[in-house]
Symmetry: C2
Subunit: 242 residues, 2 copies
Amino acid sequence: MRPKIYLFGDSITEESFRDGGWGASLANLFSRTVDVVLRGYSGYNSRWALKVLDRVFPEAESGGSDGASPPPLAVTVFFGANDACLPDRYAAFQHVPVDEYKQNLHSIVSSLKKRWPKTLILLITPPPIDEDERLRHPYAENPSGLPERTNEAAGAFAKACVETAGECGIPVVDLWTRMQQDPDWRKAYLRDGLHLTQDGNKVVFEEVVKKLNVGGLSLEKLTVDLPLLADIDHGDPLKAFQ
Amino acid sequence: MRPKIYLFGDSITEESFRDGGWGASLANLFSRTVDVVLRGYSGYNSRWALKVLDRVFPEAESGGSDGASPPPLAVTVFFGANDACLPDRYAAFQHVPVDEYKQNLHSIVSSLKKRWPKTLILLITPPPIDEDERLRHPYAENPSGLPERTNEAAGAFAKACVETAGECGIPVVDLWTRMQQDPDWRKAYLRDGLHLTQDGNKVVFEEVVKKLNVGGLSLEKLTVDLPLLADIDHGDPLKAFQ
């Protein structure tokens, strides 16, 4: 039975199987070794994520006492972009205070770690925000003329996410910082000031793969499902399947 | 627990999570409803597929007596492109006679149907072949100057696949015929005379979705996993998660 990697997050996870998406790229990389399982919930913040955690990862499919499924190899936990909505703008209903965000991440990580001590839990910070583009692509009527998210607020949540990873002793992709290392980050990586372009997806894919590799999850170390064509004897192909 | 759709096939399935791939597009379409599970094995023909069937779909993850997993909603079975390698060319070790191909498909379908009587089994024929491109993109040394596959042979396997579907009373995507309805099919749909371009992947995606819809598997009828953002009360978001 193939092992699994779960992608748990908000819309940036839910849409990660679009063309060039980071989830699809992971599934393609691990096409013969790992099932990449999509658990993205558009609009969700860490508070809602914590509420639904036991439904996202039910015992029956997660190495429960029946032993039907082994623990997943890894879980990416990618929240914060919605928590960072400002509390006095149109998306305030998604806002979560940064201290609670940090506590929610701690709760999610410790719950997953308790169930699966050996599973690699990988945090990903929210991406940076292009406020001008957010004004051009609002998700609701926005007569205020003010963006519902700011890059500064997203940065505070990214910092809290990085701190949480340090406190939990788990890896983190600091996407907020990584993307802004490119002077052209707004146009290169963001489609609407928040969601990712194909190049933005590529950054997530590459950074996640680096962290998986450091955690021992690389193609070289994973078991290939059934013989590769290159290992099949042309003179006696069926020998490979005995 | 989310239901599954398995994609079982050869390299055209294995690489279906590349950019614009038909597998990734299915996973994206069903991002909140179904797990699309990749079981593509590059180079495999129907003979090898039959040999490994019980390992690809082990009892433990397939609605076995422990009841851990419900039966999948659908399985796509997409072989024939390798069976259709000619028996006197360099890829002869992959060749399977067309009568055996048909029998192998029958065996695969009846095995899956026996285990999961209500699961939609969907056959997909091999695509057409552009012989000139196959000569330009050989997979091995080919001093003969003759392609290892011909479109005529692929057509015979496609016909056998369509017949098998009819005999089994299950749906089929006749990709060989469908693609050639476009006069520009060689360049539009094939990357190397055999594997699919992004437009070719789009054809597979659209045709598979049509057949799934006819079989009752459409977004409208599937259960969404956890509340959609649009259904969350802005005044009391947590109500949706009780």
